[in-house]
Amino acid sequence: MTAAREPLLSCKGVSKFFGALAAVNNLSFDVYPGDVLGIGGPNGAGKTTLFEVISGLNQATSGSVIFQGRDISMLPPETVCHAGIARTFQLNASFESLSVRDNVRVAAYFGRENRAYPGLKVGPDVEEQTTAALEAVGLAGKDHLIAGELPVLDRKLLMLAGAIATKPRLLLMDEPVGGLSPREIDHMMDAVRRIAQGGVTIVLIEHVMRFLVQLSTRVLIMHHGESIYEGPPQGLAKDRTVIDVYLGEGASERLGKLMEAGQS
């Protein structure tokens, strides 16, 4: 790692207030190309709000978000998407009445670049990209199912397929395995690993510590909108503040064992 390396994403003093509540409070951090940054923290810490701000769905009250050297703080969500940032949502979002394939097709067609004039047909390049995204998450063969009728794992995978179909440089994932069984978590972990290996930089929010520490190259723990820990995942189980406000003694011991097992 050289000091001259440019961050892909840089949040500088970002705050988001809802009335008097500081959901995100003067938060600064950098994400470098190739990173998998894991964000954890108790409920209401401001993790989702941070994603809302970065993705343009909700504008920051103050501070700036720089992506590839460009200030994106004031851009609308569709422009942020075209700039190369895609996200998934904590609550499963989909185009309920559309087929699985159409859900991803939308993203592949509209997500890559701003289309001044919509065309008459979805081109073969978009179809290829749609197929590739469905295969990457393991949804191949389910093209014609209706999104609203999918089981929860498939809905999360569909959201992920939509995100990568936009060809992002940066992928933001909000609790990708919330509510999944251990086997399903493993499936999602494989999918995320493959995406990361494909050269996409990732920021993920997760309460499932196993998922967070095994995937992340770096971890950021938030509390009351502020950062209370930023560093390697190995340091988490030993950090007093993190144990006190988030993990608790029992969980931190289990986490410590998990990290040791992973290293040996």
């Binding site: 993705s55 969500p77 569709e78 998407c81 185009f95 309920e96 509209f110 047909k121 979805v122």
Partner: protein, 325 residues
């Protein structure tokens, strides 16, 4: 076969069958009613793009139809422009009007869109009927700028009366059919193409659609603009067909009649609104005898469908197909 190809083939098949009708049926009344069916078919397929495909509850479509009809009559009446030239010009004026309405509705949701668009339609209606100052004084008497309660007549026609004499209505049948086929092809291209994807995505989940690169602003304007072209053209053809344009085109009864066609047939589908238009015109025909009960009958049909078959007749067919029947 891709769904788009199948739809286009169905459309061509229907067009061929309908083109043969005047060769078999000579009754003027039936041919004229079918011409009217083509006009309503155009309006409902285009309205369906906004209402069913994009999920925007706009009630402005009949006002846009009226803009097309009035613009044709006024261009022809005041500037002596041939009706055939006034018609496409009127369609473009309708597009402009619709873009303004679409922009006004941008920040509104659900029922508020319905309220605003209905209010806009009422304002246009009131401007037309409340302006009683004479703008010109033709031999038939004082004529306000927008025609007042009497409306416009004697603004010319498509020229078929001079050419074919009493058989002109057959030519109008074919004009109506051609416009309807074009309008249906247009709606197929939109619903089955990328625009349809954008509209449906925004309908299903606007926030998610935006974060996948779809600008709500841009595509809401697209759907308002595109759906207005053939609606305006239908209004223009209505003016040419009947030779009179009056404030009746703004009536709530007419609005409900067309809205019912879409609801009965199935919102958001390609063939539902057409099916609904055919069925409701037949039902309306069947209830001619019962006079005032006609509107009540239509109201009941609408109520039954909203309660029992909210997805319309096309919805029933789809569910059956899925169940493997």
């Amino acid at each position: 076969m891709s769904p788009a190809k199948r739809d286009v083939l169905v459309c061509i098949g229907l067009a061929i069958v309908l083109a043969l009708v005047p060769l078999v049926i000579g009754t003027r009344y039936i041919i004229t009613q079918m011409t009217l069916f083509f006009i309503w078919a155009i309006v409902v397929t285009q309205w369906n793009l906004v209402l069913g495909v994009a999920g925007i509850f706009s009630l402005a479509q009949m006002a846009l139809f009226a803009v097309g009809a009035y613009a044709t009559a006024m261009l022809a009446y005041y500037f002596a422009i041939p009706v055939i030239v006034a018609m496409p010009a009127a369609a473009l004026i309708t597009v402009a009007a619709s873009l303004v309405i679409g922009a006004a509705c941008l920040r509104l949701r659900g029922p508020y869109v319905a309220l605003l668009t209905l209010a806009i339609a009422q304002v246009i209606y009131l401007v037309v009927v409340n302006d009683t100052a004479c703008f010109t004084n033709p031999p038939s008497g004082c004529l306000p700028l927008f025609g007042g309660v009497r409306g416009f007549s004697r603004f010319g026609d498509l020229g078929f009366r001079a050419l074919l004499g009493s058989k002109f209505y057959v030519a109008h049948y074919y004009v109506g059919l051609s416009l309807a086929v074009l309008a249906v092809m247009f709606s197929i291209a939109i619903i089955r193409g990328p625009l349809g994807l954008a509209f449906k995505a925004l309908r299903d989940n606007p926030g998610y659609a935006m974060s996948r690169g779809i600008s709500k602003f841009k595509y809401q304007l697209w759907v308002f603009g595109l759906s207005a072209f053939f609606t305006g053209l239908a209004g223009a053809f209505y003016a040419a067909q009947f030779g009179v344009v009056g404030p009746i085109v703004f009536s709530i009864a007419m609005l409900l009649f067309l809205l019912s066609m879409i609801v009965v047939g199935g919102m958001g589908t390609i063939w539902g609104p057409l099916l609904g238009a055919a069925l409701l015109m037949l039902a309306d025909e069947g209830m001619r005898e019962v006079g005032d009960w006609r509107d009540i009958g239509l109201g009941l049909v609408l109520a039954v469908f909203v309660i029992l078959l909210p997805k319309g007749l096309a919805g029933v067919r789809l569910r059956r197909a899925k169940a493997g029947l």
